[in-house]
Symmetry: C2
Subunit: 83 residues, 2 copies
DNA sequence: TTATTAGTGGGAAAATATACCCACATATAT
DNA sequence: ATATATGTGGGTATATTTTCCCACTAATAA
């Protein structure tokens, strides 16, 4: 059974993807924070997969990064547990 | 200035896209609800753009629909206010 | 040493989603 | 009329995010 594991791994993958995009734009947490309405320390937590953000926060991040929101979800992810 | 307007229009577009996908699979609210851990009445509200769901709920919906989460964000959306 | 920048994480009040149930209107069919 | 299925929306307690500030460490530079 993959209980809360799926949910957690998804958050972690999301965070890693966010980190990848942020670094590709050479932005620090504090720099990105000035471009969206999210505190720099909270962005750090999001990238660590510690937070289950809402659509509005996803939108803020995408605005700060200048990308379409769907890019933040653009990573491999298996829906079921699978070999 | 496009204050909370962006946030709202994004939720509404998200809801419309969810509705489009759900109907393409010929699922009623109650049928989709049995496939994910979200109440049927709440799915209705999400499609109406009334709710600002979390990543975990986005994941539940995508599991219920059998699609990758990013498909739920796959719709046109302008980041800035723009003519 | 001193200053600056970066990442990390704790904490708390306020705002909000979640999870759940219920009731109602409509449509279809028996 | 009765039964079934669909969409809609109200309401509530609980859980959680959000928002914000602060402090610490490490690295770099003057």
């Amino acid at each position: 059974m993959s209980n809360g594991t799926d949910k957690n791994s998804f958050k972690i993958l999301f965070g890693k993807n966010l980190k990848r995009i942020r670094e590709s734009k050479n932005l620090s947490f504090r720099q990105l924070a000035t471009r969206c309405n999210i505190d720099y320390s909270d962005i750090s937590k999001i990238e660590k997969g510690k937070r289950n953000i809402q659509l509005s926060s996803l939108l803020e991040l995408s605005k700060g990064l200048g990308i379409h929101p769907k890019e933040l979800l653009d990573f491999d992810f298996e829906l079921d547990e699978k070999g």
